[in-house]
Amino acid sequence: MSAVLRRALGAGIAVAALFGLGALSRAPYTADGARHAVLRLTWRARGEQVEECRRLTPEELERLPVHMRQEERCEGRVPPYRLRVSLDGVRAVDELVRAAGARHDRPLYVFRELTLEPGSHVLVVRFARDGETPTGARRPSEEDREEATTPARLVLDTVVTLAARRVLLVTYDEEGRRLVVRYAPTR
């Protein structure tokens, strides 16, 4: 191979490699090519915290260090909520939403996405505390209860209209203490 040919080939390969680099740097990808629409249910709810307390026995107290000897031990938790969603009269979601955290004493987080055909749909969302407060449990003080802002039962019953490839958001309005529908903000 002559030196000129070698140089030309070397330059050609370098340019081809660059072209490959540029092409891979901007190759098109369709993350979601579907024609459907999406109903996104997402909110953060502060459920009312209930505490279950019991008195420690003298033996249990004896085993604790002196500075930790509190006669009553309370463990708080947030009761679960049940999320039910129906679309055009058909049940789409029915699930229990537990509070976050290992002890289930953190807020409840809802995040569900449902695919829908574009168009209008009758949407009913129910988010209600599941079950009764257990026997022996006590509610927190008035001051604490003010923080537990999510009502025990939320209902949204409305007609929504979705365009293809658009996302409709159902969320919790903390000020209005109700579930609301949000469309894309106008740009």
Partner: protein, 524 residues
């Protein structure tokens, strides 16, 4: 492990062919495959410098708009942004080539484990840095990367609130998110600097930058593509629309299409398996214990304390320490090998004039014994050229007994060759000695070819003696797949030797006596 060995052999074969092509096109000094590791550092410096420029114009309050402004309005902004991106893409390619090379060459276990593990960690950090970089743009790719990343992170019990909720459209994306992202994008390269230091901490004289010609050529080419094929803007992120078709950078987003169809648990499982298999490569690529080369050892009786092995060791595995029970005629210092750092390259054996150091059965004295047997078996005559071929390169001829009529004497690494071997072969009557080493940056032991060349032609200790006729000695470099190079060198050398007078075998030549004489000279 047979599968690992087969995998390494296959990869090595492919790389050797690619090397041969690159050597033909660009010459071995500028072969980018040989300099892949150093190219990563050079490219990351380009990314750093261009990144600092872009930082002046980026606004966390308006990420997409500010990047669009950089692209369309800022002075050289489009080109600098293009260079920033292309250099970071090229860095990923260079990292992969570098890792593949070391894997194929079996340079990932034993004392090299730290470099292997830190190198993989560096790759992870580079990818993470790219992830934050694309989220900064906040176009469709940034949105998908952020949402996928959040989905994967949410399964880990490390945050009290799911990160995914930040990207659902319930609230505008908080500026704090873009601030943290920018912070990570800047902080990660600082961590990379520390990792690079760790990566090269066990090698002497690390070559952190490629040759200038190659470095500027690569930067020039990247600048060229930035100008002629500039980076544009994809559609902005829209949390109220399904992410549609958009340009993605596959060097950093390759995992998105792989991860999206699966649950977070499955993806994390795959990540753990892939990370485990690659990080544990030092375990499954190392040879069986009985086949593992032993570290070098020092014969303290012969050590003169000259420090040459200490200077030449490419892995800083040799230290000079006070001699414990020094006799009056002995030096104060004596070489000491740290077995934990020694890769058994044997370069110390080639650097020790008194032949007092080297891996077991590969010291200078062992080499002289071996060449004695070789000469006795082949009895090279005045018309013969003996090829001393490196096991790892040399056109892959080291396993043969002959190559186009020339007897072959194989060595584990040309850099470990003691120059007395060359002298011995010539004095035994061979017409010439052709030493074939690996190209400098392809040496498995980093500096073998370099030191051998200096010992043969530049009087580096243990130098080839002046009495050796340099016209009958030639040093050439050839990779594993460059058999044609070896043949060409052999033919050229034959022509050159034909013009010389016939080589003479020394009449009173006695191998044992010569060995003792060489050692005696040095110890005096």
């Amino acid at each position: 492990m047979p599968i690992a060995a087969a995998l390494q052999r296959g990869t090595r074969r492919v790389l050797a062919r690619a090397d041969a092509w690159m050597n033909r096109l660009y010459g071995w000094r500028y072969n980018p495959l040989y300099h892949s590791g150093a190219l990563v550092v050079a490219l990351m410096l380009v990314v750093l410098i261009t990144g600092v420029y872009l930082l002046f114009f980026y606004r966390i309050g308006a990420p997409f708009a500010s990047v669009a402004r950089i692209t369309d309005q800022v002075w050289f902004g489009r080109w600098i942004r293009g260079l920033h991106r292309y250099a970071s893409d090229a860095a990923v390619v260079a990292v992969l080539v570098h890792a593949l090379r070391l894997f194929a060459q079996g340079r990932s276990w034993g004392p090299r484990t730290l470099a292997w593990v830190s190198g993989l960690t560096l790759l992870f950090v580079v990818l993470l840095c790219g992830w934050t970089g694309y989220v900064m743009v906040w176009d469709i790719q940034g949105q998908v990367l952020a949402q996928e990343g959040a989905r994967l992170l949410d399964v880990l019990p490390i945050l009290s609130e799911p990160i995914s909720r930040a990207f659902v459209g319930e609230h505008p994306i908080p500026g704090a998110f873009f601030f943290l992202n920018l912070f990570a994008h800047i902080a990660l390269p600082i961590g990379m600097g520390l990792l690079v230091w760790l990566h090269v901490s066990r090698v002497a004289r690390p070559g952190l930058l490629p040759p200038r010609g190659l470095m500027w050529a690569v930067i020039g080419l990247l600048l060229g593509i930035s100008v002629f094929w500039p980076v544009g803007m994809a559609p902005p992120a829209d949390l109220f629309a399904l992410p549609g078709r958009a340009p993605f950078d596959w060097f950093y987003s390759f995992w998105v299409p792989l991860a999206r169809p699966f649950s977070s648990g499955v993806v994390w499982g795959a990540v753990v398996v892939i990370a485990g298999v690659t990080l544990l490569a030092p375990l499954w690529t190392r040879p069986a214990p009985e086949r593992r080369p032993l570290p070098s050892a020092v014969d303290e009786r012969l050590c003169t304390g000259c420090e040459q092995c200490y200077e030449d060791c490419p892995y800083e595995a040799i230290g000079m320490v006070e001699r414990a029970d020094r006799r009056p005629e002995q030096s104060d210092l004596v070489a000491r090998v740290d077995p934990a750092r020694c890769v058994s390259c044997g370069i110390c054996a080639g650097s020790c004039a008194p032949m007092g150091v080297g891996p077991p059965r590969r010291t200078g004295r062992d080499q002289l014994s071996a060449v004695k047997a070789f000469v006795a078996a082949r009895w090279p005559g005045p018309g013969d050229i003996v090829i001393i071929a490196c096991d790892r390169g040399a056109g892959g001829i080291a396993a043969r007994a002959w190559f186009h009529g020339a007897p072959i004497y194989a060595v584990a690494c040309a850099g470990s060759l003691h120059t007395s071997v060359i002298e011995f072969v010539l004095r035994a009557g061979a017409g010439g000695v052709l030493v074939i080493a690996c190209p400098a940056r392809d040496c498995w032991n980093r500096e073998g070819g370099k030191w051998l060349e200096q010992r043969m032609y530049h009087d580096r200790e243990a130098e080839l003696r002046d009495r050796v006729d340099r016209r009958r000695v030639r040093l050439a470099f050839a990779g594993e797949a460059e058999t044609a190079c070896v043949l060409r060198e052999l033919a050229d050398f034959r022509v050159a030797l034909a013009a010389l007078e016939a080589a003479a075998r020394e009449s009173d030549f006695d191998l044992s006596r010569e060995c003792e004489k060489i050692m005696g000279e040095v110890s005096r």
